[in-house]
């Protein structure tokens, strides 16, 4: 069997579910049409069911998936490169995840690997130059392997980790990783003073984790992408530098236990000014969001009140006066207060209410999307 034959066979397997779904849809549609022609209710039920399950199969089919093995092989090479670099440079310190105030891009991330242990954290202006190798203190700044994942967490939760606290992460990260992203079967986060322990069970990265275990400068220092992403989330939420103290993997690779430690940042005078600027920027952004939310809330409230009133009017006219719906909406209201002297009808109020409600909801949704 040559390569093209294999590819054809794989395509055929992949298209099987689609073929079944389309077949269900087609037979359902035929059954429905026949039931209409011959007025057969049983056939209509069958047609409805077939059409629905055909459409459902198409809808819930995953768009794309990759094997975890393939994913691991693409990541491991870059981790090996970083490990080789650190080994050749003979850097001994543990990687320190720097909080957002050290970064120009707030969605970015940097981990500082000092040349020796207990060298301390570099000043903001040193990191802001975006150099890889720093002189004071000596070390290197690299983009952590879990940065993409951490940004994905923020996008999925629709929340900026800089605006949340540790409790939020403790409550929401497990649900995100288990139920939404399905990266792991279970995640427990325990907070004890400055130490945060994460216990990950049944991670899809377990093979990658056992591979990174062989790289001493990665596992327990810079971390695998999953541990690294949690470290970034922690440093963003607390605003403190974070180090990965130790990582323990069970023999079968099912459980990964990682300890993170929050470091107290050394605050030089220059950093205070930058911190104030950042706070000012965050407060302004927050005020803008609140105002926009208030406007959408106001529109939605007005729209809802008008629609509720129209609903009450319909109910009243139908139950008390026995009017039909067309007359209620389109009937003349001349002489009534509703008319406002300009010939307003119930349909006008209904349309105004609906428009206000939709504009309010759209403004709110647009705001949320732009925030993501």
């Amino acid at each position: 069997m040559n390569l093209s034959d294999r590819a054809r066979m794989r395509n055929r397997q992949r298209n099987l579910s689609e073929t079944v779904a389309y077949a269900l849809l087609l037979s359902g549609a035929i059954a429905l049409m026949t039931s209409v022609f011959y007025s057969l209710s049983i056939l209509a039920f069958i047609g409805l069911g077939l059409t629905f399950w055909g459409a459902l199969l198409l809808y819930i089919k995953p768009a794309k998936y990759v094997k975890a093995r393939l994913l691991d092989s693409t990541v491991i090479s870059s981790l090996k490169t970083v490990d080789q670099m650190i080994t050749n440079l003979n850097y001994k310190g543990k990687a320190i995840y720097l909080p957002p105030r050290y970064l120009k891009d707030l969605k970015g991330g940097k981990a500082f690997i000092p040349s020796k242990e207990n060298l301390g954290i570099p000043p903001v202006e040193e990191v802001a130059q975006e150099k890889v190798f720093l002189a004071n203190p000596k070390g290197m700044c690299v983009t952590p392997p879990g940065l993409g994942l951490a940004n994905l967490y923020e996008n999925e939760l629709r929340k900026d980790f800089m605006e949340v606290d540790l409790n939020y992460l403790q409550n929401n990260l497990p649900k995100l990783l288990v139920e939404d992203l399905e990266i792991a079967e279970d995640l427990e986060i325990n907070i004890e003073d400055n130490t945060i322990k994460a216990k990950i069970t049944g991670s899809i990265n377990k093979d990658l984790c056992s591979e990174t275990k062989k790289l001493p400068n990665i596992c327990g220092s810079l971390g695998c992408p999953l541990c690294s992403s949690i470290a970034i989330a922690l440093t963003r939420a607390t605003g403190k530098p974070v180090i990965i103290e130790k990582t323990e993997v069970s023999k079968d690779g099912q459980t990964i236990e990682t300890s993170f430690r929050l470091l107290e940042a050394i605050e030089p005078e220059v950093q205070t000014e930058m911190l104030l600027e950042e706070m000012d920027r965050l407060v302004r952004a927050r005020v803008r969001t609140v105002l926009s939310n208030f406007a959408s809330l106001l529109l939605t409230a007005f729209g809802s009140i008008i629609l509720a009133w129209v609903g009450w009017l319909i109910w009243y006219d139908m139950t008390i006066w026995g009017k039909d719906i067309a007359l209620i909406f389109f009937g003349s209201r001349t002489g009534e207060a509703i008319s406002l002297g300009i010939g307003m009808k119930a349909i006008h109020y209904f349309l105004i209410g609906l428009t206000l409600l939709l504009i309010g909801l759209l403004t709110f949704l647009r705001r949320r999307r732009s925030k993501v």
Binding site: F45, L48, G49, L56, V178, D180, E185
Partner: protein
């Protein structure tokens, strides 16, 4: 030539489908550690909820009719 199902037939169909989908959605939920099933579980849950809401709407219509006729 007319559609042979009444609103109440569709209501019954919606109820049965909603139960099947809601139970399936719950059983395959990643909340119980089932992460190896390759389907869009979120979409399935949304469909299950939509069908349930549609069924509830038919119930509301039914109640409304009972109130009006009494």
């Amino acid at each position: 030539m007319q559609f042979p199902l009444s609103l109440w037939d569709i209501s019954l169909w919606l109820a049965a489908t909603a139960i099947i989908l809601l139970v399936t959605s719950e059983l395959i939920s990643p909340h119980y550690g089932k992460t190896n099933l390759l389907i869009e579980k979120k979409r399935l849950r949304n469909v299950a909820l939509t069908i349930s809401i549609l069924f509830l709407i038919t119930v509301v219509i039914r109640i409304y009719e009972i109130i009006i006729t009494s």
